[in-house]
């Protein structure tokens, strides 16, 4: 038996280690120009961070939710000073770029948070600063392991990137420094119990995102970076409002996440809704979603790390944290509807896109929408689904982004149409991409299990909202199947086994890709243990005794199906070898090596285009209607809050 006191000290030190340690490589990398040393620092830094997060998860298993107060005075003041510095930096940059709206929101937030800190400073110390439970630990592993892998991948990718963009000034030291700064901020965010702490880390992630989107320094990149900043600030302004509201009404003892949620909907609902709106902006829900699509101008590791698998998860993380508050509330259902509408609209738009990164971006927005919908419903089963969605989406999406990045450097295009038959010339990367896509929508893989649980959860939600969400989900997932399956089909349309073009992919890229592919499959096999040992204790601690979730026998069926999918193709590829390969049928026309004999003996390339339905699912129109609809929903939330606040 380890002394519990000692354990708790170790525990807190581990949390602080995870928050502070990434700052060391960040600072080192900022001053490092040598590529070899940078490689070592990034690898060691990412490795230690990942190990630390796994260790944390191992310790947390079987533990209850616990809170810690950092016994150092002056942290609050330090944070305020840093916030003022960040605000100052943003004001200067925006002044240069003549982005006055951004300045307005920066100052507004600064005033709000200043007011909150000033009024609430005395009670501040009573709130524990840090929280750790299974949810935080899972988030930490996602940040540590997936974030770490992406940082390692970025080593190889950015070298190629600079080669492809010779006119771009090499800012890689700053780039890697910001990546690690971001990891630190994310750890801080998921471990924060004190909302003022959380807000501080929240702002740091916004800053990192801004810096990384404008990395290419093109005018498009800069304007997109400012858009991202603006939208995040608009949403982010709700965060200090929530803090202010808590201090003014409930008293500062409710500033902690734990105590606020425990206080129940009567106290927590309004701040939870305000924070949820901030979360919607951060996780790119409609009407804020255009910033995330614009952010795709950044190098691929940035898209993977910030805008798909990790940072946007911060938004859904806080919303999911408040899930018990939203349970059975009309306000919760409104939040859920914002997510639901986003899911449907973004999925539809993804059909019309042929740019692979844009498809991934819209599918990210869609999946975040589904997570928000689950969190807004707020029942234990919905939260179960939401957390699994977070896990599986992080893994599959980062795998997809990284493989698209690698393919882009090999074939010089990120258009899906140019990936026709990619499984021929790039068999291994092609297979990884196929696994990643399958992970996003096919049955025995993780995302679908979450979808399954969310249908279960929605069917018990407040009528008629639950049914509306079900209908949204039914249509949205139909569309999802469409755009993923046509992409998979495109990859498989192999003309003939061509020479491999998989050379010149750096070791760093391979390592990240292979580990993520393995994780995609392993995580699916691990659903039952993850559910039993991590999520169920978590849900019990949040909700009390819970009714049984998806039964073990059904999960066993899933695992068997997965085993079939993994094993069968490998076996069958050897058994089912055709005796004779015939030419493809084209109405009797001769086809050879992808060339068909046209009239007058002319040779023409056979090109097969996919369906995109730009008329049926127009990007601009859909996002306009979607935004209008969600703005109405947000306005309704605001109205309810105002009316309730007045009463």
């Amino acid at each position: 038996m380890i002394d519990t006191n000692l354990l708790s000290v170790m525990y807190m030190e581990l949390l602080l280690f995870l928050i502070l340690f990434p700052l060391i490589p960040a600072i080192m990398l900022y001053y490092l120009w040598s590529e070899n040393i940078r490689g070592i620092v990034v690898t060691i830094g990412a490795g230690l961070t990942a190990l630390g997060s796994i260790l944390l998860l191992a310790i947390t298993t079987g533990q209850n939710q616990s809170f810690f107060t950092v016994p150092v005075s002056g942290i609050a003041i330090l944070m305020l000073i840093l916030e003022i510095l960040i605000a100052g930096y943003l004001v200067i940059v925006s002044l240069k770029a003549k982005q006055y709206l951004v300045i307005g929101f920066v100052l507004l937030q600064l005033i709000l948070i200043g007011a909150a800190e000033w009024t609430g400073l005395q009670g501040h110390a009573e709130t524990p600063d840090l929280i750790i439970d299974q949810f935080s630990a899972i988030m930490a592993v996602i940040i540590g392991v997936i974030g770490g892998l992406i940082c390692i991948y970025a080593l190889g990718y950015m070298r190629e990137y600079q080669k492809h963009h010779p006119d771009l000034f090499d800012q890689r030291p700053r780039f890697f420094a910001v990546l690690f700064l971001f990891l630190s901020a994310m750890f801080g965010l998921v471990f924060s119990n004190n909302l003022i702490w959380m807000y501080f880390f929240w702002e740091v992630t916004t800053l990192c995102s801004f810096l990384l989107i404008r990395y290419p320094e093109t005018s498009e990149a800069i304007s997109n970076a400012f858009r991202a900043l603006l939208y995040n600030l608009i949403g982010g302004a709700c965060f200090p409002l929530a803090i202010l509201f808590i201090i003014l009404t409930g008293g500062p003892e409710n500033l902690g996440l734990g105590s606020l949620i425990a206080a129940g909907p009567a106290v927590a609902l309004i701040p939870a809704c305000l924070i949820a709106i901030a979360g919607c902006a951060k996780s790119a829900q409609l009407p804020f979603s255009s910033w995330l699509v614009g952010a795709m101008v950044a190098p691929t590791p940035v898209s993977a790390l910030l805008h798909s698998s990790t940072m946007v998860k911060a938004g859904v993380y806080v919303i999911a944290r408040f899930a018990p508050v939203f349970e059975g509330q009309i306000l919760g259902m409104l939040i859920a509807l914002i997510g639901g509408v986003t899911f449907l609209v973004a999925s539809c738009i993804a059909v019309s896109q042929s740019n692979a990164k844009k498809v991934l971006a819209y599918s990210t927005i869609a999946n975040l929408g589904l997570i928000v919908a689950c969190a807004g419903v707020g029942t234990p089963e919905a939260l179960w689904a939401a957390i699994f969605l977070i896990i599986f989406h992080a893994i599959s999406k980062s795998l997809l982004f990284l493989s698209v990045g690698t393919v882009e450097h090999r074939i010089g295009s990120r258009d899906i149409e140019d990936m026709t038959g990619l499984a021929g010339p790039m068999p291994r990367v092609g297979l990884m991409m196929l696994i990643g896509i399958a992970g996003m929508f096919l049955a025995p893989f993780g995302m679908l299990i979450s979808k399954w649980a969310s249908i279960h959860a929605f069917s018990q939600a407040v009528p008629p909202f639950g049914m509306i969400l079900i209908i949204i989900l039914a249509y949205g997932s139909a569309v999802t199947v469409f755009f993923w399956a046509k992409w998979m089909g495109k990859l498989l349309e192999v003309r003939k086994w061509e020479e491999s073009i998989e050379f010149a992919i750096s070791k760093a890229e391979w390592v990240a890709l292979i580990i993520l592919t393995a994780l995609t499959i392993i995580a699916c096999f691990g659903i039952a243990p993850i559910s039993t040992y991590l999520l169920e204790p978590l849900l019990v601690s949040m909700y009390g005794p819970i009714s049984p979730l998806i039964s073990q026998s059904n999960m066993m069926i899933m695992v068997l199906m997965l085993a079939l999918i993994v094993v069968l193709p490998m076996m069958l590829m050897k058994i089912f070898v055709p005796k004779r390969n015939l030419k493809r049928y084209m109405g009797g026309v001769t086809v050879e090596n992808g060339l068909m004999e046209g009239s007058l003996g002319m040779k023409r390339e056979v090109s097969l285009g996919n369906l995109y339905f730009e008329d049926l699912f127009p990007e601009a129109g859909l996002s306009r209607y979607g935004s209008a609809f969600t703005i109405v929903l947000i306005a309704m939330v605001a109205l309810v809050i105002l009316v309730w606040g007045a009463i």
Binding site: L582, K583, Y585, G588, V589, T590, E597
Partner: protein, 147 residues
């Protein structure tokens, strides 16, 4: 077991027929003759077909087409030339663009001469073709067993 003779699927190709024979082939599918009684289907796809039915003489343009269609059919398979043009080129034989009968391009198993051929004759020819098909299947099986 001889399932092949119970479900022969045909592919009909019009090489350069005057359409007289084509109409008679389609007549076989109509209620009066209804060849589906014997499991015969018109597939329109060489990959699914067992019997290639060709009407009209071969012209220089579609030599390669006939060759391709024949090659794309999985074994065992038979070819039936329907109409005198398919057999020899018929009245078009001397035309500058006609290569002659189907036999010029691919091996033909059953000839059904006539201008135009009557549906009864076509059915009779197909039945003969089914016999040859069955024979080819046993040969194929024997060859596989030997190998």
């Amino acid at each position: 077991m001889a399932y092949l003779s119970k479900s022969p699927w045909i592919l009909h190709y019009d090489a350069s027929s005057c359409n007289g024979c084509d109409i008679e082939i389609l007549a076989c599918l109509t209620p009066r003759y209804d060849v589906e009684r014997f499991g015969i289907l018109n597939t329109g796809n060489p990959k699914h077909a067992d019997i290639l039915v060709i009407t009209g003489g071969v012209n220089e343009q579609n030599r390669s087409v006939i060759k391709n269609l024949y090659d794309q059919m999985p074994n065992p398979k038979v070819v039936v030339g329907v109409g005198v043009c398919a057999c020899t080129g018929g009245v078009f034989r001397e035309c500058y663009n006609i290569a002659g009968g189907v036999g010029e391009v691919i091996p033909v198993d059953v000839w059904i001469p006539g201008c135009s051929v009557r549906p009864e004759q076509i059915i009779d020819g197909i039945v003969k073709a089914i016999g040859i098909l069955e024979q080819k299947r046993t040969e194929m099986e024997r060859a596989e067993a030997a190998a």
